[in-house]
C-alpha cells in the first residue's frame, strides 16, 4: 500500500502541470481578455486600458529593434513603416500621436499590436510565453493577483472555498445520510410503501433542473417565511448574535440550498445502494447465514450491508469531485458566497490568475480525494489489494 501511495503521489506533479497547461491554453484560445469590457466604457481612454493590460502582464512594449523588423505593413489602405524613433506613413514621417490614433490596434502575422495615446506600441503576449511567465512565478510561490479584485488570488479563494465546502459537505451528508438507509430499506422491503416513496423522491431529485428547484425554494421561502431567502447568514444582525445564535443562523440558512443540491445527488446513490443491497441479499453467504439461523438483523447488517457498501466507497470518491463545482448554479440563484460563483465569473470575464489558481486548487483536491477513496476502499474491503 505504501508503494502504491508513493507512486500515486509521484504522478501528481506532472498531472497538475498538464492541467495547468491545458487550462491556460484554453483560456488564451478565446479572442477576448479581461480588459475587453473596459474598452467599451466611453469614460476610459486608450491609455488607461493599455496601462491596465500591461500591469496585468497581458501585453508588453515592443522595442524599436523589433519594430523595425516588422518592415513595411499595409494597414487601412496606407503603407506604414516603423523605424527607430519615427513612423512613416506612405513614406512620409508622421507624428507618433497621430499614428497611434489612426492605427489604434491591428493584427499582423498572427500577432496583435496596440498603440497607446503616447505613441508607444505594445504586443499581445502569446499563450505559451504567457504560460511560461505564469509557471515561473508559480514556482516561486506567487500565483498572482486577480485582475478584477487586485488582491492575491489565494486570499480571494480561501474564504469562499470554505463556504462552498460547507455547503457541499452538508449536501454530501444529506445525500449519503439519506441514500443508504432509504436504499437499504427499499432493498429489504421491495415494493413496500417505503420503496415506492423513496424511489419517487429519488427520481424527482434526479429529474428536476437544479436552477429551477432553487427558484421554487426561494419562492417557498418568501411565501411561507419559514426559511431565509438565500444567503449564507443573516445580513443585518449576524455580528450581534451569540455563538449559538450564529450556529443556528447558519444552519437555518443552510437548509434550503442543501436540500436542492442534496436531493439530486441522493437519487443516484440511493439507487446504487438499493441495487447493491439486493445483490448482496441474493448472495450465497447471506443465504447460508440465514440458513444457519442467525437473527435477521445480524444477517442484514453484518453480512449483507458490509458487502453492499464497498462499491459505494468508490462512488463516494467520485462524489468528492463534484464538491467544488457541483453547487455552482445554486450558489448563484441562492446567493451563496461560494467559490464556484467566483470561478465561473472569472472564467467568463477571463480573470486568468483566479481561474488558474482555482483550477489548480480543485485539481489538487480532486486528486487527493480519489487517492483517499482508493485507500479507504483498501481499508474497508480486504479483498482489494493495491499495487
Amino acid at each position: 500500500m505504501l508503494t502504491f501511495t508513493i507512486r500515486r503521489l509521484l504522478s501528481i506533479p506532472p498531472l497538475l502541470f498538464g492541467v495547468a497547461l491545458m487550462t491556460f491554453l484554453l483560456l488564451k484560445a478565446a479572442p477576448a481578455d479581461y480588459f475587453s469590457q473596459m474598452e467599451f466604457d466611453p469614460a476610459k481612454s486608450r491609455a488607461s486600458v493599455i496601462d491596465a493590460k500591461r500591469a496585468a502582464g497581458l501585453i508588453r512594449p515592443v522595442s524599436e529593434k523589433e519594430l523595425s523588423r516588422l518592415g513595411a505593413v499595409n494597414v487601412n489602405g496606407a503603407s506604414w513603416q516603423f523605424e527607430p524613433g519615427r513612423v512613416l506613413k506612405d513614406g512620409t514621417e508622421i507624428e507618433n500621436r497621430i499614428a497611434a490614433e489612426e492605427l489604434d490596434s491591428f493584427e499582423l502575422r498572427g500577432m496583435r499590436y496596440s498603440y497607446d495615446d503616447r505613441g508607444q506600441l505594445y504586443l499581445r503576449i502569446g499563450a505559451l510565453e504567457g504560460f511560461g511567465r505564469w509557471l515561473g512565478k508559480v514556482l516561486q510561490g506567487d500565483f498572482g493577483r486577480s485582475f478584477k479584485f487586485n488582491q492575491p488570488v489565494f486570499e480571494l479563494i480561501s474564504e469562499r472555498l470554505l463556504n462552498t465546502l460547507t455547503l457541499s459537505i452538508a449536501a454530501l451528508i444529506l445525500a449519503w445520510g439519506t441514500a443508504i438507509p432509504l436504499g437499504v430499506i427499499a432493498a429489504v422491503k421491495p415494493n413496500s410503501f417505503w420503496d415506492h416513496s423513496s424511489g419517487f423522491i429519488a427520481f424527482f431529485g434526479l429529474s428536476i433542473p437544479s436552477v429551477f428547484f432553487a427558484l421554487l425554494m426561494i419562492l417557498f421561502a418568501s411565501y411561507t417565511g419559514w426559511f431565509p431567502i438565500g444567503d449564507m447568514r443573516d445580513t443585518v444582525n449576524y455580528d450581534n448574535f451569540t455563538f449559538w445564535g450564529k450556529i443556528w443562523d447558519r444552519l437555518h440558512h443552510l437548509v434550503l440550498p442543501t436540500i436542492v443540491i442534496g436531493t439530486g445527488a441522493m437519487a443516484g446513490y440511493m439507487r446504487q445502494a438499493r441495487g447493491n443491497m439486493i445483490e448482496a441479499l441474493g448472495q450465497d453467504y447471506v443465504r447460508t447465514a440465514r440458513a444457519k439461523g442467525l437473527p435477521r438483523e445480524k444477517v442484514l447488517f453484518k453480512h449483507a450491508l458490509r458487502n453492499a457498501i464497498n462499491p459505494l466507497v468508490t462512488l463516494f470518491g467520485y462524489s468528492l469531485a463534484a464538491l467544488l463545482s457541483g453547487s455552482f448554479l445554486v450558489e448563484v440563484v441562492m446567493n451563496w458566497p461560494g467559490m464556484a460563483r467566483l470561478v465561473v465569473d472569472a472564467i467568463i470575464a477571463k480573470d486568468e490568475p483566479v481561474v488558474m489558481a482555482s483550477v489548480m486548487v480543485s485539481a489538487v483536491l480532486l486528486v487527493f480525494g480519489n487517492l483517499f477513496a482508493d485507500l479507504l476502499l483498501a481499508v474497508v474491503d480486504p479483498r482489494v489489494r493495491l499495487s
Binding site: 419517487f200 428536476i208 472564467i347
Partner: protein, 449 residues
C-alpha cells in the same frame, strides 16, 4: 419504483415442450423489458416526446420564431382565457403627436383568469354548438395606473369566435418533419391554425386591436406560441442527449478498447490523458471550452459544438470503465482462443471484446442522457447554451426564471415539465434496461428455470 428489482423479473422458459427454439440475447432483453411497466411508461413518454419534436413543424400552428408584439403573454387557451375589467381612470401625463406633454384621462384595467372560458370553445360564431373547435378573438387593452405607467393586456372577446381550420394551406412550404432540425421535409400544410376573418377589415380602426390567434399553451413575452416553441425546442433538447452520448460513447469505446487491449505504454499514456480531463471540474472545463467556440458559426454549428463540449467533458470516466472491462475480457477464454486461432488485433477487439460490453454500453447510455439534457439547461441558464431566436427547453425555462413570470404568466414554466418528464423517462427506461440486461438476472433465472 421497483425497476431494478431483479427478483421480480419473471423467469422465461427457454426450453420445454412446444416452445419455440431459444431466442437471441436481444430478444430476451426485449421480452424482459416488456414486463417492466415503469420502464415501458418511460419508453412511451420518450416515444411521444421524440414524435412531437420530429413532427414539430406539422403539429404546431406557427413557426418557432413568429414574433408578434401585439399578442404577448396570453394564457393557455386549452385551459381558459383572460378577461379584463375596467377599474377606474387616471389623469396621466403623456407625450402627444406633436411631442408635447399633455395630461389625458386614461383607463385602468385589471385582468382576470377564467377557467375554461374565453379559450377553446365548441360554439360557432353564432353561438350554436359545433364539433369544430373555435377560439375567441383576442383584444388589446392598454391600462394606465395612477402614476401613468402602462401595462398591455390581452383579453378574449366573448362575442367573437374564430373557427380552427385543419390542414390549412400555407403560403410557403414550411418544415413539417425533420430529424432534430437536420433533415427537413417541407410541405405546404400544417395540422391546424386560424385565419384572421376577412370581415374584420370592415370594423375599421377597431380591427387593429383585434387578433386571431390560437395559443393552446399560451404565448410568451414576444407573442410567440409557447406550444410551438416547446415542440421545436424538443428538437434540440431531446437530441442533445442522444448526440452527446453517441459522441462520448464512441470516444470512450475506442479509447477504452485500445487502452485496455494493448496495455503497456499505450494504456499508461491514455489513462493519464483521462486523468487530466477528470482532474478539472466538469463545469470549469465546459465553460473554458465554451469560450473557445468561434463566434462566427451559425446556430446549428454552435449547437453541435455545445454537444461536442458536453461530450468531451463526459467521455473520460466512460473510457476508464470500458478499459477496465476490456482488461478483464482480454483474458477471457474465448478471446484467448480467438487469438490462438490467429485473429488480428482489430478483429479481436471489434468482434470479441467490444460486443461483450454492449449491455453495459446501452444501459449507461440511457442513464447518461439526462446529464446532457440537464447540462443544456444549465448552460442555457448562463446564456452559454442555445440562444434566441432558436429554442430549447433550457432556454424557455430560463425565461421563466423570475417571480413575476411565475406570478402573472405561470404557463411559461411548462417547458420545465417537459424537461422533468424527459429526464424521468430516461431514468425509468435506463433502470429497466439495466435490470433486463443484468447478467445476474440471467443467472438467477437459469437457476430457477
Amino acid at each position: 419504483m421497483n425497476a431494478s428489482d431483479a427478483r421480480r423479473v419473471e423467469p422465461i422458459a427457454t426450453e420445454g415442450p412446444g416452445l419455440p427454439p431459444p431466442r437471441g440475447p436481444w430478444k430476451m432483453l426485449w421480452l424482459r423489458l416488456r414486463k417492466n411497466r415503469i420502464a415501458m411508461t418511460g419508453g412511451l413518454i420518450l416515444i411521444f416526446l421524440y414524435f412531437i419534436s420530429c413532427f414539430a413543424g406539422f403539429l404546431s400552428p406557427y413557426d418557432f420564431n413568429d414574433v408578434n408584439t401585439d399578442t404577448t403573454r396570453y394564457g393557455p387557451m386549452l385551459l381558459g382565457g383572460i378577461a379584463v375589467e375596467q377599474v377606474g381612470t387616471h389623469l396621466v401625463e403623456i407625450e402627444n403627436e406633436d411631442y408635447e406633454w399633455v395630461e389625458v384621462e386614461k383607463p385602468e384595467f385589471e385582468p382576470r383568469w377564467e377557467w375554461f372560458r374565453g379559450g377553446l370553445t365548441f360554439r360557432d360564431p353564432e353561438g350554436r354548438f359545433t364539433l369544430r373547435p373555435h377560439v375567441h378573438a383576442l383584444r388589446e387593452f392598454v391600462s394606465y395606473d395612477e402614476i401613468g405607467e402602462t401595462t398591455y393586456y390581452l383579453a378574449s372577446d366573448p362575442e367573437v369566435r374564430i373557427p380552427i381550420r385543419f390542414l390549412p394551406r400555407q403560403e410557403r412550404a414550411v418544415e413539417v418533419a425533420s430529424l432534430f432540425g437536420f433533415f427537413k421535409i417541407k410541405a405546404k400544410r400544417k395540422l391546424f391554425g386560424v385565419e384572421r376573418p376577412a370581415e374584420w377589415a370592415e370594423r375599421g380602426d377597431d380591427a387593429d386591436l383585434m387578433h386571431a390567434e390560437v395559443f393552446l399553451l399560451g404565448s410568451d413575452q414576444n407573442g410567440r406560441d409557447l406550444m410551438t416553441r416547446i415542440f421545436f425546442g424538443g428538437q434540440i433538447s431531446m437530441s442533445v442527449g442522444l448526440l452527446g452520448i453517441l459522441i462520448s460513447m464512441t470516444i470512450g469505446l475506442v479509447f477504452g478498447g485500445v487502452a485496455g487491449y494493448y496495455g503497456g505504454l499505450t494504456d499508461f499514456s491514455m489513462m493519464r490523458l483521462t486523468e487530466l480531463l477528470m482532474a478539472i471540474p466538469g463545469l470549469y472545463l465546459i465553460l473554458t471550452l465554451r469560450y473557445v467556440i468561434p463566434t462566427k458559426l451559425d446556430s446549428r454549428q454552435t449547437y453541435l459544438m455545445i454537444v461536442g463540449i458536453l461530450a468531451l467533458a463526459g467521455w473520460a470516466s466512460l473510457g476508464r470503465v470500458i478499459r477496465g472491462m476490456v482488461l478483464s475480457l482480454r483474458e477471457n477464454e474465448y478471446t484467448l482462443a480467438a487469438r490462438a486461432l490467429g485473429a488480428g488485433d482489430r478483429r479481436v477487439i471489434l468482434r470479441h471484446v467490444l460486443p461483450n460490453t454492449a449491455s453495459f454500453v446501452i444501459v449507461t447510455a440511457t442513464l447518461y442522457v439526462p446529464y446532457y439534457i440537464l447540462g443544456e439547461v444549465a448552460l442555457s441558464f448562463l446564456g452559454l447554451g442555445i440562444t434566441e431566436p432558436d429554442t430549447s427547453w433550457g432556454l424557455l425555462l430560463k425565461d421563466a426564471q423570475n417571480s413575476q413570470v411565475l406570478k402573472y404568466s405561470p404557463w411559461l414554466i411548462l417547458p420545465g415539465f417537459f424537461i422533468f418528464f424527459a429526464v424521468l423517462a430516461f431514468n425509468f427506461l435506463g433502470d429497466g434496461l439495466r435490470d433486463a440486461a443484468d447478467p445476474r438476472a440471467n443467472l438467477s433465472k437459469k437457476k430457477t428455470a
